[in-house]
Amino acid sequence: MIITCPYCGPRDSSEFVYQGEDGRTRPDPASTDQAAWNAYVYDRVNTAGEHEEIWQHSGGCRAHLRLVRNTLTHKISSVSMARHATVPRRRRKAETPA
């Protein structure tokens, strides 16, 4: 599997660590809603199909990425940085100004 890190470009999945299902809501730190905390920690939709999830590019820039990946085909339809709204694009030599 190849994941295209917004910063590093396309990289082998071996450089990444899966960090679980996205879309779970962590309650506000001060929240005392036990059910909401339980749900955050333990409960998963486990979608068969387009799945929102978090990966860390642990063997690269170490940023966490939000992916939409189809769990039936492993096809990745979107990748974005969890923390950084925008990142500069990686340049190839052909694009480098002379």
Binding site: C8, D12, S58, G60, M81, P88, R89, K93, T96
Partner: protein, 193 residues
């Protein structure tokens, strides 16, 4: 000042291995300073300007952009994060004065990273044995850098010349990596300098 003791000292023996032309040359370059600077979101260009003032190196924009001279090097390896190296000591002491907390942070890694240089016509071939990275010149232009990993060994790599790469590894892994690198270079003949 006390000199740094390299983790490669007992295993780095200059000389040639193999008959015929040398496919690669392996060497340790021991910068006096290795410093990480990191900008808060939105402060990247301000930080790049400070790096230029402090080191004279003009970092190109673009992820992984970098520049290398004979004595200094700088490249981006993560969003807002840059690695700077200088043959002279002192960068770690100088930079925090310029990089305010409103801009970002400075972290001294002068002892924490070991820099191994691989050069020669077969350098891309040997590196390709370790890293799942496209090392071709168009994909990784001179000066550009990246972060990657070889199994457990995390590495930041800058292309410092057409046939030359500088590999920054964690000091504790350096000896293990060096041995592997020598082993992998046997196929193409190598010289240790």
């Amino acid at each position: 000042m006390v000199d740094q003791l390299s983790p490669l000292a007992p295993v780095l023996t200059p000389g040639r291995q193999g008959q015929g032309p040398m496919g690669v040359v392996l060497a340790e370059i021991a910068p006096g300073s290795i410093v990480q600077v990191a900008a808060w979101a939105g402060q990247e260009s301000a930080l790049i300007a400070i790096v230029r003032d402090a080191t004279g190196l003009a970092l190109p924009d673009g992820a992984g952009g970098g520049i290398a001279t004979d004595t200094k090097a700088a490249f981006g390896f993560a969003p807002g994060k840059f690695l700077l190296a200088d043959q002279e000591e002192g960068l770690a002491a100088a930079l925090p004065k310029a990089v305010t907390s409103a801009l970002g942070t400075v972290t001294d890694l002068s002892h924490g990273r070991t820099v191994i240089r691989i050069s020669g016509t077969r350098a891309e071939w040997v590196l390709a044995k370790f890293f799942a990275i496209d090392f071709s010149l168009p994909a990784l232009p001179v000066g550009a850098g990246l972060s990657t990993v070889h199994h457990d060994i995390f590495a930041q790599i800058q292309r410092s010349g057409a046939d030359q790469f500088d590999i920054y590894v964690f000091r504790s892994f350096a000896r293990s990596f060096w041995k592997s690198l020598c082993h992998a270079s046997e196929e193409v003949n190598y010289e240790v300098r």
